[in-house]
Symmetry: C3
């Protein structure tokens, strides 16, 4: 399970059935849950002073794709899945079933809920708070410094079920409300209420999310997306989504 070319510290704690691919490095302060896969060319548990001797903890059933770098000092729930060349720095606290897309860059010092998905090339600034079931699409940046460079950092908050489309920037301290959608190529400099579509640079309110209709001819609303998009979520969660009355949104 450990490729002969991999370099795995004796101090690292690997669960049962953990595999480590060719040319990967596992450092000292690492705990990896059972049935996890670390692919090739990775560096896991990169040591840093900022981590203050805290371990990197990956839950069970994790899959870290090739060329990824995880720093020491972050904790992930079970079933983390990453793309290739992901960078994750110290002090990320993430729930279960997180998906991190290829080339994404988590700067650390952030809190992430359960079932969050980031697509490719997403940049999560320090002090971000991402709640549950959030979607973030390619080339989105969550910022944190209202007057860079400075020592005054204030993170972004993305609430449950919110969606941020491609190449949008969220300015420091902004809150994006539950179920809301940020259109592609937007710059968001005001808080976004719940259930709203915003877009533009700077972003303005376009409409309520339910007014966006699916293009599949069904006539149904595209948002909240949990009414129609269920791939990768457990049946019990999907059932709860479908059982909720519409006015719960």
């Amino acid at each position: 399970m450990i490729h002969q070319t991999a370099i795995v510290s004796d101090k690292a704690q690997l669960g049962r059935n953990v595999s480590v691919g060719p040319f990967s490095i596992i450092h000292d302060d690492v705990v990896i849950g059972d049935d996890s896969v670390i692919e090739s060319h990775c560096e896991i548990g990169y040591p840093t002073k900022l981590a203050k001797d805290e371990s990197l903890v990956l839950g069970k059933n994790s899959l870290i794709r090739s060329h990824s770098v995880f720093y020491q000092g972050s904790v992930f729930g079970d079933s983390l899945v990453t793309g290739h060349r992901v960078t994750v720095r110290e002090h990320v606290k993430a729930g279960k079933n997180l998906q991190i897309g290829t080339l994404s860059d988590f700067q650390g010092d952030c809190v992430i809920g359960n079932y969050v998905r980031t697509h490719s090339n997403v940049h999560i600034g320090k002090h971000s708070k991402i709640c549950n079931f959030v979607w973030i699409f390619p080339y989105v940046v969550l910022t944190n410094d209202p007057h860079p460079p400075s020592n005054y950092l204030v993170g972004v908050t993305i609430h449950d079920y919110a969606v941020i489309a491609t190449m949008s920037v969220i300015l420091p301290g902004i809150s994006v409300g539950k179920h809301s959608l940020i259109a592609a190529h937007s710059m968001v400099n005001k808080d976004v209420p719940e259930n709203m579509v915003v877009g533009g640079s700077p972003a303005k309110i376009i409409c309520e999310v339910e007014k966006i209709k699916l293009k599949d001819g069904s006539g149904n609303s595209a948002y909240p997306w949990i009414k129609h998009f269920h791939r990768g979520y457990p049946p019990e969660i999907v059932k709860a989504w479908l059982d909720e009355s519409d006015n719960s949104f």
Copy 2:
């Protein structure tokens, strides 16, 4: 030609004069044409269920630069050249002389013509169709989901000779016409006719492409670019471009 640290499957089919660099991995379902170079730290033929046992096929004279990852199940014509850290997923069907820039991310399930160039950090969403002689510049994203996340994906089409400048987003299902130019930092949400310059967020028509003049003092039009930019194209193609009467554009 095969570096002693490289890991090459016995099942992979390598042509004559194929070299594989240090710390690279070649998986089972891979066919590599003669005189190709796979540089260091690559993973070629990454196995996935989505590839349905199809091979990765690279044509002759290919050059894959370091740290790149190609999935199983795509087919490329001769003379593919990539930058570093390219990601190419399953079911890309590409013509000859494709150039893929450093950090670019091809999501798979797309069709690409001949002599297409993408610069660094270009993201090609699934179901994209890119015709021949297209140029795509850094940080461009071709999207595919009109209401993300959903199961209704509709790709972008980029017609022959079109140019998409830096950090533009093309929305799902949009068609960019032959010879047209998308200005930098644009968000394109309407089809772009042939021979037009569009720009802005959302993009609007600015002028006909021929009105953009070269800044070299010649007084000539900068577009169609095939009248003045010929580096890397075969002489017979360049001759045909120059022989065409102007009114063919």
Copy 3:
């Protein structure tokens, strides 16, 4: 200091106390200063014809993080620090204390002063000129071709102390003045005077930089940033910044 899996050319000139991490490659035409660290999975001194046999020269106390690629033919002052997966091509001439963020891509043929910082995923086009103490934030692109593709390239100039915020594009030949700030998600197509804040797509002048106040409650101006942000700069430089009378800006 040289990991047993590293591949280091006999022709490379390594100073005292230089360490090279696992699975890294050091090519022939490389000079590395004393007390430098090359981490894992790097390729240093990548040979290219464009470099015309010139060496890659890294100064003392350099730190090159994992998965980075440096081409032959660039020269860096002391104390270069990079993130992970940096790409630096030929003919970069950079001063001391340069910081290059994770995933950044320097295309070569550019001049960079002292104490320049680029954050993650910054793209520096050929022929850029970046003066001293400049800050460039994530997903910024400095372009160079006014009518791509063409052979007429004209670089961007960024003057001392200027700041370019996240996901902005600077068009070819543009000059950004001393102490000025480009707001996030901007497209800059006109020269920016000194001491100005500009923003938008296309960017317009918003105000003088000193009108931006720190959000720390102090009532002080956030710009010029050198009056309050000093992390990582030598005491003598900071002292000079603080001693300067305000009307020097």
